[in-house]
């Protein structure tokens, strides 16, 4: 007769199948409940652990909600001025080509104030990785319109919705960057479902692995939520993201191994 196994019996080290990676620090992240930043931080940390590159990794944090990312990732990090992370990363990688260098940037940082740094680092074929978190809004400063804010989407500086005649169009930076000969891998992912998390992690891993090939820049965009900025619950925000963000920012690879995806 089989004995009924209790949860306490299962929760033993030998049965462990998932635990928080040691590349994340113990610090509780300051992000709002349900924010995708935390998930992406964790995936980056897990990839760093799995690739065993913690001592060879140098990250650059942006200005925006993730400005304090250096508190959560246990690797050497530099904090850049708003939009300038790709310039820092250019120097870091050129001076230490054997290190794994990445930037982590939001949409305001990467697609507005840092457009030039992003485009030119990509076009030079700098051999580092950009993680681009696109939630269509300036989160940290309180939900203002971003370069990626959708048409008709409300924000604190487009309170009646983004009027593209007056405020201009949202910018698809990832599509732009994919066109540049200096990029080797450009992909758009999400982290709102387990399946998407698994795919995003593979993309993050590939983007890091690419640095060994020295063939150019890898950019992983993560379309993410901002439930506080969007004024929704985390679950609603993810649903809204699927319905509204994904049609405009479709998920999938744009460029793989230097070739545009079909």
């Amino acid at each position: 007769m089989a004995e009924q196994i209790t949860n306490k019996d299962i929760a033993r080290e030998e049965n462990l199948v998932f635990k928080r990676t040691g590349v994340l620090t113990d610090k509780v992240m300051h992000y709002c409940p349900g924010c995708g930043h935390g998930t992406v931080h964790r995936l980056i940390a897990e990839v760093i652990e799995e690739m065993n590159i913690q001592s060879d990794c140098i990250g650059v944090t942006p200005v925006g909600c993730s400005v304090l990312m250096y508190n959560y990732l246990d690797v050497d990090m530099q904090e850049a001025a708003h939009g300038r992370a790709p310039a820092l990363a250019t120097a870091i990688k050129r001076l230490q080509p054997d290190k794994f260098v990445f930037t982590y940037q939001g949409d305001g940082d990467l697609a507005a104030i840092g457009t030039a740094e992003t485009i030119h680092a990509a076009n030079r074929g700098e051999n580092f990785t950009i993680f681009f978190i696109n939630n269509g809004i300036y989160g940290m400063t309180g939900g203002q319109m971003a370069p990626t804010t959708l048409p008709e989407m409300k924000s604190s500086t487009s309170p009646y919705g983004r009027d593209v005649k007056m405020m201009g169009n949202p910018l698809k930076m990832t599509e732009l960057v994919a066109q540049l000969p200096g990029t080797y891998y450009v992909t758009r992912q999400a982290v709102h479902t387990p399946r998407d998390v698994r795919k995003a992690k593979k993309a993050i891993r590939k983007a890091f692995e690419n640095q060994k090939l020295e063939k150019g820049l890898s950019l992983v965009e993560i379309v993410s939520n901002c439930n506080s900025g969007w004024k929704m619950t985390p679950v609603q925000a993810n649903e809204w993201m699927v319905e509204n963000m994904f049609p405009f920012y479709p998920l999938g690879d744009l460029k793989v191994d230097g070739e545009m995806a079909k």
Partner: protein
């Protein structure tokens, strides 16, 4: 026949009660507690622990990495 049985441990004090893990669970194991943690969040817990298969889906979508997952293959007749 081998039946997969799992369990999770939620780091209650670090959980922000965002509510993303219950819909990610294919076995309807998780729910948010009526009680709150020290920060005032309704933390996630296993409302239906016997159904857990240890699939790790809840941990994958957890933005705060507060879920640890265990799994065994439980031999039953």
């Amino acid at each position: 026949m081998a039946k997969v049985k799992g369990t999770i441990v939620v780091d209650i004090e670090r959980c922000k009660g965002c509510g993303l893990c219950p819909p990610a669970c294919p076995s309807d194991v998780l729910s948010l507690a009526r009680e709150v943690n020290a920060k005032g969040y309704h933390y996630a817990y296993m409302a239906n622990p016997d159904a857990c298969t240890g699939c790790i889906n809840c941990a994958l979508v957890c933005p705060d990495a507060v879920i640890t997952v265990y799994r065994v293959k439980n031999k039953v007749n």
